[in-house]
């Protein structure tokens, strides 16, 4: 009985962890996308600003 309960708890915990990890990975992916987009736009702005220095 104890072994059965312990196994059941482990499985439940594993399923919960799986779900949590999926959510966490989704968050991390979004954070990476944000960083990439901001980086790209900053570079574009910097290039546009460099052209202004000749004015």
């Amino acid at each position: 009985m104890v072994l059965f309960l312990s196994c059941r708890d482990t499985k439940k915990e594993q399923a919960e962890t799986e779900a949590a990890i999926e959510e966490i990975e989704a968050v991390e992916t979004e954070v990476e996308e944000i960083s990439t987009e901001v980086e790209k736009e900053s570079k574009e702005l910097e290039e546009a600003l460099k052209e202004l220095d000749s004015i």
């Binding site: 482990t10 966490i24 702005l45």
Partner: protein, 249 residues
């Protein structure tokens, strides 16, 4: 009767064994959580030190660039009224100033590298532990070194939180970039107005420069909007992470 006795003995034995197993599991969980906490504290200390160094270097850079820029501006203004010989001399001075600026920037970079190396040396043992942890990949449930299940999930959540805070710091820095970019665009507009008033440029030249200014303004606006949206997204993701383990407690 004997069978009943045997069954009772077996039951008592299995209950004792079960208790022992659950006790042992709890103990390992506690020690793992302690390790995770210690790691987190050391990482936070490292981040703080790195931020302080960065701030100092940024301040130095700003001061340097302000001084040299103002000098260069003054010289350029002088150039307008100077004779060809004087203007050559002024041009040389400007070039020398620019060279100095570059050299000083390189020095700051080297200092920064040295500081980083020092910090890395301080935290080396922990990094070695981290590498060992990462070597086991991203399988669910029982990975991340010796961490398993809930402890692993919590450590992954902490990592994600740290990534978000790093990303938020980057956004803050970008806001400073936006302010300086606006300043540069305003300066360019002023310079163009002066040039127009003095009749130094043809209509084509003026319109080409106006296009450049407009393009920079568009890029600036785009970045501002992205920064705003990104900040909102990061805050939402932070809340999501808080809820991931809140719901399951």
């Amino acid at each position: 009767m004997k069978q009943i006795k045997n069954i009772i003995v077996m039951l008592i034995f299995s209950m004792l064994l079960g208790n022992q197993i659950s006790y042992a599991q709890q103990k390992t969980k506690e020690t793992k959580e302690k390790v995770v906490k210690e790691k987190k504290e050391i990482k936070q200390k490292k981040d703080k030190a790195a931020k302080e160094v960065k701030k100092e270097i940024q301040l130095e850079r700003k001061e340097l660039s302000k001084d040299s820029k103002s000098e260069i501006k003054d010289l350029k203004e002088k150039m307008k009224n100077a004779s060809p010989e004087e203007s050559e001399q002024i041009q040389k001075k400007i070039e020398a100033l620019k060279k100095n600026n570059k050299e000083e920037k390189e020095k700051i970079k080297e200092e920064r590298k040295d500081m980083k190396e020092e910090q890395d040396d301080d935290v080396k043992p922990m990094e070695v532990v981290d590498k060992e942890d990462n070597s086991e990949g991203n399988a669910y449930g029982k990975n991340k070194g010796e961490l398993k299940g809930r402890a692993f999930g919590q450590s992954r959540a902490n990592e994600a939180r740290q990534k978000i805070s790093v990303s938020q710091d980057q956004l803050e820095k970008r806001k400073e970039v936006v302010v300086s970019a606006r300043q540069r665009i305003d300066n360019a507009k002023k310079r163009l107005e002066i040039a127009k008033a003095e009749g130094e440029m043809t209509d084509e030249q003026v319109s080409a420069k106006e296009v450049k200014i407009k393009r920079a303004e568009e890029k600036l606006l785009q970045l501002e909007q992205t920064l705003k949206k990104s900040n909102e997204k990061l805050n939402k993701n932070k809340e999501k992470l808080e809820k991931v383990y809140e719901n399951k407690q």
